[in-house]
């Protein structure tokens, strides 16, 4: 880096545009070679070093090859072996370096061990958490414990996908733009991930004490109620039954989530905002899932879609008088 003079005011490590350059004042010479260095990141330095080493190797290999071309092949069998040896050496080192880089990148990004702690559950724990997701807690004065695991929520989302598929099929839903499976997976995962992120964002705004993992876990377990309700009502088409279950089971699981959030938020308005939003989204999702894939609604949808209606039957009718324009008319 450059040197700084005692009298200059600038704080750049490379010396800046000192007047000393021109005046040749008390400061030492600024080494222009190091001006455009990559001192910002050592990664680039290493890259440069590697590049230089490789270039040296390549140059030496080329030199060796050039030397060999001039040599007499028959004289030294060792020479050809040497050139082959060197080429192999270089190729081997390039391969090793590439393999090292690739395995480093793989271990960094594709390492599923990052997720391992979130899957560390026992079946009894999953069972008890499923039951607890329907029981609202009573104490909201201190933060309630939320389990940070992803196995239960993930399995519940997949179960919901399976139930949704069944519902879509029995209601005879026809998806024109897209596939049945894609719609089901997109709906369920979109809800789980999207609403979790949204509520987490709101929680971040109002300074509630909940992490993203806990929110994902909480909402995932809240889908247990949805699974139960939909499993029953996709098979037994009874409106009153659905409304009762929607209020009872949907309500219970929403109350549980709301209570946990209440215990982790301070202030009336933040509580109202957060919990109201969650309750609204959760309950309306259940309503949406039921009514979107319902047999009765199919007819309504068909009548609303104009361009997909069956072609109107043409019937012959008598037209007494036809006016072609203002001056002419034909009587049939």
């Amino acid at each position: 880096a450059g040197n700084m003079s005692a009298g200059s005011r600038n704080t750049e490590p490379w010396g800046g545009f000192d007047d000393n350059l021109i005046q040749g004042g008390s400061s030492a010479v600024i080494d222009m070679e190091n001006m455009d260095d990559t001192s910002g990141s050592s990664f680039e330095d290493v890259g440069e070093m590697h590049q230089r080493m490789k270039e040296e190797e390549e140059v030496s290999a080329e030199a060796a090859a050039a030397e060999d071309d001039g040599a007499d092949d028959g004289e030294f069998l060792g020479m050809k072996g040497l050139k082959g040896q060197l080429g192999r050496q270089v190729a081997d080192e390039v391969w090793q370096a590439g393999k090292r880089q690739a395995s480093k990148a793989f271990n960094l990004y594709a390492n599923i061990d990052i997720l391992r702690p979130y899957f560390d559950v026992e079946p009894s724990q999953v069972r008890s958490r499923l039951m607890e997701s329907m029981i609202p807690v009573r104490m909201i004065s201190f933060p309630q414990k939320v389990a940070g695991e992803l196995y239960g929520p993930l399995m519940l989302v997949f179960t919901l996908v399976a139930i949704l598929l069944h519902g879509m099929k029995t209601s005879g839903t026809v998806i024109r733009e897209g596939t049945l499976m894609g719609t089901a997976i997109g709906t369920c995962f979109g809800y789980w991930l999207g609403v979790s992120s949204f509520i987490y964002f709101l929680a971040y705004l109002v300074n509630a004490q909940i992490t993203m993992l806990q929110m994902l876990s909480l909402l995932g377990y809240g889908l247990f109620g949805h699974c139960v309700v939909l499993l029953v009502t996709y098979n037994i088409h009874f409106h009153l039954l659905f409304y009762a279950m929607w209020l009872l089971i949907g309500g219970l699981s929403t109350l549980r989530m709301v209570a946990v959030l209440l215990s982790r938020t301070v202030g009336q308005t933040p509580r109202l905002l957060l919990c109201g939003m969650l309750a609204l989204l959760h309950m309306s999702f259940l309503l949406y899932l039921h009514f979107s894939y319902h047999q009765i609604l199919e007819g309504l949808l068909d009548s609303l879609e104009g361009h997909n209606m069956a072609p109107i039957q043409r019937v012959v009718r008598d037209v007494p008088e036809v006016t072609l324009n203002a001056t002419r008319s034909i009587t049939l």
């Binding site: 030496s60 030397e67 040497l82 050496q89 079946p123 499976m181 894609g182």
Partner: protein, 225 residues
């Protein structure tokens, strides 16, 4: 001295090159680890028919092991993905059927079935690895793919039933066949996968497998040409 100089001239330009080993001439006999493996590696010269037959025999052997599931390690030791690919393509082709002729999607498309099977298998494999399983990635894929065989057989039977009968009877027969084959698939894959899991977490691994085969069975049951 001159001959020595001549000898060293070709090497002159290489003085700044570092060569770790000096090339040695002569024969070095390396100890061969296992001669059987060496023979297998030199399969380049055998006729193509022999190669294909060998692979087909291995695949058929694994099919037999799926049909009579017992705790053996054949599927795990020599895993291959040919069998799953064959089964997946067959199932997807059978499931496509009449959907191509109609405007609305009466059944799943080829790509849909393919994606469901492979991504479902990958997710189950990841799940079992995260829960502490000892099987490798491809071993799990191999097992899950081979255990789709009963469901493929059920699909063939369902198509035959759909051609011959219709209505309640055909639905009842298809339901029975699909349920039986779904149970068979789940049981077969559990027999292979369960050994690799810690004993208290078997249920956690079996449930996604159950869901996976349930979805495939549902696709087969609700297929209408």
């Amino acid at each position: 001295m001159t001959s020595a100089e001549e000898a060293s001239r070709p090497f002159a330009g290489l003085s700044d090159v570092s060569i770790p080993d000096i090339p040695v001439e002569g024969d070095i006999s390396l100890p061969v680890a296992s001669s059987a493996r060496d023979d297998e590696f030199s399969t380049l010269d055998e006729p193509v028919k022999e190669t294909i037959l060998r692979d087909l025999r291995a695949v058929a052997n694994k099919f037999v092991h799926v049909l009579y599931p017992k705790r053996s390690s054949v599927l795990l030791r020599d895993w291959d993905l040919w069998g799953p690919l064959l089964l997946c393509v067959t199932l997807a082709l059978l499931l496509q059927g009449g959907a191509a002729d109609s405007n609305d999607q009466g059944g799943p498309q080829f790509a849909e079935v393919f994606v469901i099977i492979w991504f479902g298998s990958i997710i189950i494999t990841l799940n079992s690895k995260l829960l502490g399983g000892t099987l490798s990635f491809f071993q799990s894929l191999c097992v899950l793919g081979y255990c789709i065989m009963p469901l493929t057989v059920a699909m063939v039977v369902c198509r035959i039933v759909l051609y011959t009968a219709s209505g309640k009877v055909s639905f009842a027969v298809r339901l029975v066949v699909v349920t039986a084959s779904f149970g068979w698939s789940t049981f077969a894959s559990t027999a292979f996968l369960a050994d690799s899991q810690p004993s208290n977490r078997r249920g956690l691994v079996v449930y996604p497998v159950f869901l996976f085969y349930f979805v495939i069975g549902w696709m087969i049951l609700t297929f209408s040409p």
